[in-house]
Subunit: 350 residues, 2 copies
DNA sequence: GTGAAAGCGCTAACAG
DNA sequence: CTGTTAGCGCTTTCAC
């Protein structure tokens, strides 16, 4: 009745060659030598497999082996420059190692993130690389309990000892702020997002500490927190108003590249010029930051390093199965790339 | 010996409740009513499942059902703005429908693309959304033969009748060129990539036809083809030299957003100003094109529409299993977004 | 209403 | 060197 091509299985191969299923299976898994299969048999099997285009059924393998050769990647937003690059590097590394990758974006939404983690577990991934959201503590602890290999990237989960690869956000923000101060910008506005992800908190601390180390007192509203999840226009507007309401500000530090993009738009809408009216620096680079006029000074994340380290560590966990005694952590220092948006300027009196 | 939590299975649930596996399975799949399971039993099962945190083993389900509730997404480069957005939309749609998505980037490399398609098949995805590379004809035909649901996006595969959702590249390029002509740019340079993907060919045709319809004769080298896969610097250099060698050119049409980015850098390196020395338009929008000074005129792809249509059609194919008699095709018209990089100018003599 | 049992395709322990 | 076979966890037909 069904005219579709019948799916060919290991059984068919065995039958056609008058061999046992075992033999074929051994050959299939490269255990021919070890199990003492004659080279001739080996070749015959390989030949027929090729001829028939036989592919072992993955689901059966997974069911049998408990390993899916698949990892999950949970990022904040795959369409964002930073996470897109991260995904790319991980994909390449994974393929090199014979792994496939599932991906998903949390949109920084907690409920979504929880759902995604569960979905990853359901799909029996061998391990997960996670960009956490706030309040994911329970899920992360559960992962540890269930002995599912995972590593956190970009941000930690407060109160949980887990393996991670993150940026040294504190140092990055500190240095970027210091760069502004050294170039005689003393009235810096720090624009960040509202919810307290660990990396955002660290950046804010870096900013605050750099100011206080330089003995700069802010006599203005030096930090603007916008909540994302609103429309782009609303965010641009918030920044625009902030700038308008704090005319003494001589420079703006955006804690994220997309905030930087919004901020630049806001500044343009205020008819202000960068850097003559207001200097700009941003955390996270972006291909376009160097093309803008002026080009934008940034703290750039060594994406390749972060992604590679995270993946390699995940592999180790998956392959060793041994959970090491103490969590593994990598804190990677960002590079400050000075561009035209924050030139040295003459010191001015107040 | 093994202290790890023993994975709980449907059997355990059945035993603990003194029910048969069948009953539990029915409840699990929402077939309680249909199979006449008493509401009470139903509730007891649900309660225990929740209590024990039981999740049906996915691999077993896949093996049994032949459906994995997983689709594959093959794009050119996940870290590229356009494909990142496409991926995002598809991910969201897929999740809505209870599907997960595997992704992979081809880098526009044929061998990679072939490998990826095979890997997708191995992982028993239910369907694939594919950004083809050149010379993928054999693989695509094989997919048709094997009755694996798939839909092509962004570009066709010459010589293959397959379902697709693509942009009307011809019209987009035609209109973008016409926009330049109407604003009195008559010496237009078209910068594109070398290999003949269908969408690039169509864009080039659109450009050429718009010129010839306007009776414009090019007395210069009007088309530059760069091959990607080289380093960024080399590409920028090629464009830089092209501009330098063709000083009569008054405007540049980039066939892709990343070429646009490279091109802008090249123009800057030539110390030329946009648009006073040279106007610029680009195919494919990008968040930053509107932030650049000047902002860049583009033919913008309705990404959401493309991705959604492709996904929905794939779903239909997966769920109906019926291969329709004739291939499904959607050609979507791009929007021309006029910005500052191509203002109207006074007609000039030669 | 519920249960027994076959079988999806594969691996590997065990037996020759 | 090769074959037999149990079983991974689930769905579903058929029987009671």
């Amino acid at each position: 009745m069904n005219t579709s091509v019948k799916k060919i299985s290991i059984k068919d191969i065995a039958k056609e060659l008058n061999l046992s299923i075992t033999t074929v299976s051994f050959v299939l898994n490269g255990k021919g030598k070890k199990m003492g299969i004659s080279p001739e048999t080996n070749n015959r099997v390989h030949a027929l497999i090729k001829k028939r285009g036989f592919k072992p059924n993955n689901a059966a393998r997974v069911l049998r082996n408990g390993k899916s050769k698949t990892i999950g990647l949970i990022v904040e937003d795959i369409s964002n420059y930073f996470f897109g690059k991260i995904a790319k590097v991980i994909e390449v590394e994974a393929n090199k190692n014979g792994y496939s990758v599932f991906f998903s974006s949390t949109e920084n939404n907690n409920a979504t993130a929880k759902k995604l983690i569960n979905k990853m577990k359901d799909s029996s991934v061998d391990g997960i690389i996670i960009t956490a959201t706030q309040g994911l503590k329970t899920e992360i602890l559960k992962l540890k309990e269930e002995n599912i290999p995972f590593v956190l990237i970009d941000r930690l989960v407060p109160g949980v000892d887990a393996d991670y690869v993150i940026l040294d956000n504190y140092i990055g923000a500190y240095n970027l702020t210091k760069h502004l101060i050294d170039n005689n910008y003393k009235k810096i506005g720090f624009v960040t997002i509202e919810n307290g992800m660990s990396q955002m908190i660290d950046r804010e601390r870096g900013f605050v500490d750099a100011l206080s180390d330089a003995k700069i007192k802010t006599g203005y509203n030096s930090i603007l927190k916008v909540s994302i999840g609103q429309s782009d226009e609303v965010i641009v507007d918030r920044i625009k108003n902030y700038v308008a309401e704090n005319p003494t500000i001589d420079s703006l530090f955006f804690s994220t590249n997309y905030l930087g993009a919004f901020g630049i738009e806001a500044i343009q809408k205020n008819n202000l010029k960068i850097p003559s009216n207001i200097a700009v620096v941003s955390f996270d680079d972006n291909v376009f930051f160097k093309l803008l006029t002026p080009s934008i000074t940034v703290a750039s994340q060594p994406i390749k390093e972060i992604a590679t380290k995270a993946f390699q560590h995940l592999m180790k966990k998956i392959e060793n199965e041994s959970s090491q005694p103490r969590p593994y952590g990598q804190i990677i220092a960002p590079d400050i790339i000075v561009r035209d948006s924050s030139p040295k300027r003459k010191p001015r009196g107040k």
